[in-house]
């Protein structure tokens, strides 16, 4: 038991892990903000259609499918290790940011699109018939209703993105997991790993609980809640 809570190793690990928390949070928040923005922009482009954007739709759908199909770690490794051959030297942080944004953007686009299509068709017809333009209809009538539906699934994807920041340890970004494994290698003790595990639980358990709560409150998300066995 003692080896798991080795005080010396913990004392050595804590400052490193603490600095890792800052990196994890920066990477998570930046990726989530940019990824959600990317997904939103693509879904809006797809919904606006029009003369030019109509041709973009197949490309957006292909992007969403491809980046939901590829494992995030594979994408990260390709970006980080292949980009330099094209003369593009990305830091581990930037490569991780790019990979996380591309992955989150794909699911966020699908979530926003699903939200937009879930709004009753009559809303479009009514708004367009009052003379509103398609853009005004989308932004003033449809999106305010659609965005509400997207909150629970977006929360879950955002949490997944936050957890995926641990992948950055593979490309030597000094985030929580990376710090813990390097101190673990120095001290030959599992205590730093357990410390990191504790940090992740402290960061994400509340968020997972909130995500679950949002899901059960969702107006249309998933099956109707709780009609269990009598």
């Amino acid at each position: 038991m003692e080896i798991f809570f080795d005080r010396e190793a913990l004392a050595l690990a804590w400052p490193a892990v603490r600095s890792g928390i800052a990196v994890t949070l920066q990477l998570a928040l930046a990726s989530i903000a940019a990824g959600v923005a990317l997904g939103f922009a693509l879904a809006v482009a797809r919904a606006l259609g029009g003369r030019w954007l109509r041709f973009a739709t197949p490309a957006i759908v292909a992007y969403a499918d491809a980046f939901r199909a590829i494992p995030p770690l594979v994408l990260l490794v390709v970006i980080y290790f292949a980009a330099p051959f094209a003369g593009l030297e990305l830091s581990g942080f930037l490569a991780s940011f790019a990979a996380l944004v591309l992955v989150l953007g794909a699911s966020a686009e699908e979530i926003f699109w699903a939200g937009i299509t879930a709004v009753d068709r009559g809303q479009w017809e009514a708004a367009l018939s009052t003379g509103l333009s398609r853009r005004t209809t989308l932004f003033r009538v449809i999106l305010p209703q659609a965005v509400l539906l997207t909150v629970p699934p977006l929360t879950n994807r955002a949490i997944a993105t936050g957890k995926n920041t641990a992948l950055a340890s593979v490309v030597a970004v000094p985030e929580v997991l990376n710090q813990a494994t390097s101190i673990q290698a120095q001290t030959a003790s599992p205590a730093p790993l357990l410390l990191a595990a504790g940090v992740y639980v402290a960061l994400f358990l509340p968020l997972v609980r909130i995500g679950r709560w949002l899901e059960t409150r969702a107006p249309t998300g998933g099956p109707a809640p709780a009609e269990g066995p009598p």
Binding site: I3, F4, A47, G49, D65, A66, R68, A69, I70, P71, P72, L73, V74, L75, V77, V78, F81, A82, F85, A86, E110, A114, I116, T117, D120, R121, W124, E125, L128, R134, K163, N164, T165, A166, S169, V170, L177, T181, S189, P190, L193, L194, A196, A197, Y200, V201, L203, F204, L205, L207, R209, R212, G222, P223, A224, A226, E227, G228, P229, P230
Partner: protein
């Protein structure tokens, strides 16, 4: 242009590393065939336990599920593979990876199946019970078939996630597709094997992603876009 082609899609390098990558692909598929059924089975156990347990126990189980979900899968993997040996438990790498990934994916399968079971109306339980079926039979013949159908798109979606997760195995030196691609890239000092590996992952998983989209689309609201031509 041809220089880019030589760098990223070098036919000679791809040809030489194809054998290595295919061996990796086999490991990736094997690992998926271990993790998906095991995760589904464990998830089903959790979901059924939650359906039958008293409310307080259900809350304890759901907290446990959330605890597993709070770990990034890679952290869980590193804990199992590098942490357990300190407790005197030496697992072969493949088993350690399979255990960690199964735990992670089971927490999602369990949650999906729980929602599916909860979505079956109480009348189904009562009707089955009044026809004299025992609890096991009710679950097996009445509740689960309906519950699973309700959440099928989510189950398939999580299967896609589970297969994607197997790429993490490369981090702990299991010779899966990604790991083999990294080795081949190092040997040839050329990124073509990475591109080839990404293409193999896409070939494996894109059809599944399309399938998820089709399943999801069938239950979505009628497409408003058609009325806006």
């Amino acid at each position: 242009m041809s220089e880019l082609f030589e760098t990223f899609l070098n036919p000679a390098v791809m040809g030489e590393s194809a054998g290595l990558l295919l061996r990796g692909l086999v490991v990736t598929v094997e690992l998926s065939l271990l993790v998906v059924p095991a995760g589904l089975a464990l998830g089903a156990c959790v979901a059924v336990a939650q359906a039958l347990a008293p409310p307080w126990l259900e809350r304890v189980v759901s907290l446990g599920v959330d605890l597993v979900r709070a770990f990034p899968p890679l952290v869980l993997l590193v804990l199992v593979v590098h942490g357990l040996p300190f407790a005197g438990i030496e697992l072969p790498a493949l088993v350690g990876v399979a255990v960690a990934l199964t735990l992670n994916t089971a927490s999602y399968y369990g949650e999906i199946l729980r929602a599916g079971i909860a979505g079956v109306s109480a009348g189904q339980w009562e009707a089955a019970r009044s026809s004299g079926l025992g609890t096991t039979s009710i679950l097996r013949f009445v509740i689960l078939p309906q519950g699973v159908r309700k959440v099928l798109p989510d189950l398939v979606g999580n299967t896609l996630e589970a297969v994607k997760l197997t790429a993490l195995a490369s981090v702990v030196a299991l010779p899966d597709l990604l790991r083999m691609a990294r080795i081949a890239q190092g040997v040839h000092f050329n990124p073509s094997p990475l591109i080839l590996a990404a293409a193999l992952y896409l070939a494996l998983l894109w059809p599944l992603a399309r399938f998820v989209r089709r399943l999801g689309a069938s239950k979505a609201a009628p497409d408003f876009a058609r009325s806006r031509r």
